[in-house]
């Protein structure tokens, strides 16, 4: 329960979660590169730093780029667990 709550806080506001499976490479609006900043962002936010401050540190100034990281949910992590299990099962059958 605790874990779910924290994930909501970081990636709320998504209607169709399948829309962005993995962090987009660029900002949808201006085209600034944001993909390479995701891992540091999420690590620091999970460690309790305020998200706004982390974004400032990463040099993300415009609100179009800031929402990219703020509103993102990394769905691919959940999917990959599923695929990994399936592959192991298949190998056992062989």
């Amino acid at each position: 329960m605790q874990e779910q709550g924290s994930r909501r806080a970081i990636g709320s506001g998504l209607k169709n979660e399948g829309d962005y499976m993995i962090i987009p490479i660029r900002c949808f609006t201006c085209g600034k590169l944001i993909g390479d900043k995701w891992e540091e962002f999420i690590k620091r936010v999970k460690n309790g730093e305020p998200a706004g401050k982390v974004l400032d540190d990463l040099g993300i100034k415009r609100y179009c780029c800031r929402r990219m990281l703020l509103s993102h949910v990394e769905i691919i992590d959940d999917l990959i667990k599923f695929y990994g299990k399936r592959d192991v099962k298949n190998e056992n059958r062989r």
Partner: protein, 280 residues
């Protein structure tokens, strides 16, 4: 025309151009956005991909990765002498991606893209392309080429290119009683009160011409006036990192020059033709 550079840090630059018209300023902006070429992955040959992302999504993601551009040693494919659909070493660069997740999950980063020409490499090593579950594999060849922003945003060398009028704030000291309403309301803290209670302009460049100070002034007509100088512009250009900003601006001006020359040539050819018609 006078140019004054206000600040330059890393990939962005802010400067003032004084003494040009709006149409010229907008021309510069639009050429930077849509005509200055840069490198991006265009065609992708997927040999193997059993990751959770479809081939198309994967290719789109690869296309968006900004690549360091070498404008001097590459040609635009439509201007290249090879005239080939596949391209030649002068108009395309190959990058190879071959990653397999063995027993653990693995993130495929942009650093796993191995460029054939080391000058055409992703600007950042840490861009996640896809994540692989154990046993999944990606093998592909990506072809990068020069392109223009008007064809696809991935070929846009800038992530921001804006200009605005140079602000001009004038205060009528004969009627201003220094009430300070305008100082308090200014969202950009342009105005400030001096020691003797006079309202002063402190950060003129920060003014966004919102005119809140005029509306709040109790005097009628207001003792403060704000206007944009329509012949002076504050430009802000922010490169995505593919090219240095100075290069983007100089390249834009070169393209403008070329367009003007082309136009002049075309017009003089047509004039000569019509003269000949008259003589006949």
């Amino acid at each position: 025309m006078k140019v004054q550079i206000l600040e330059k840090n890393g990939d962005s630059i802010r400067f003032i151009i004084d003494g040009i018209t709006t149409s010229l300023a907008n021309t510069l902006r639009r050429i930077i956005l849509s005509e200055v070429p840069c490198m991006a992955i265009d065609d992708v040959m997927i040999i193997e991909n059993n990751s959770v992302l479809h081939d198309e999504i994967l290719a789109l993601r690869l296309g968006l990765i900004p690549l360091k551009t070498d404008l001097d040693s590459y040609n635009l494919p439509e201007e290249c002498e090879c005239k080939s659909e596949l391209g030649c070493p002068l108009c395309r660069a190959v990058l190879i991606l071959d990653v397999k997740a063995e027993s653990k999950e693995r993130v495929v980063y942009s650093k796993d893209l191995i460029p054939e020409d080391p000058k055409i490499a992703p600007i950042s090593d840490k861009i996640p392309i896809v994540k692989l579950a154990p046993g999944q594999r990606i093998r592909l060849e990506a072809y990068a080429r020069l392109g223009k922003g008007k064809d696809h945003a991935k070929w846009q060398p800038v992530s921001a290119c804006t200009y605005r009028y140079m602000p001009e704030v004038s205060i009528d000291y004969e009627r201003c009683d220094g009430c300070g309403e305008c100082v308090n309301i200014c969202p950009r803290k342009v105005l400030d009160k001096s020691n003797d209670g006079k309202v002063e302009v402190r950060n003129l460049l920060e003014c966004i011409l919102c005119r809140d100070c005029i509306n709040v002034c109790p005097k009628d007509p207001p003792a403060i006036n704000v206007n944009g100088n329509k012949e002076s512009f504050i430009f802000y250009v922010e490169s995505t990192g593919v090219l240095p900003v100075e290069r983007i601006i100089s390249e834009a001006l070169k393209i403008y020059d070329k367009k003007c020359l082309e136009f002049l040539e075309e017009i003089s050819v047509n004039l000569n033709v019509s003269k000949k018609d008259e003589n006949n």
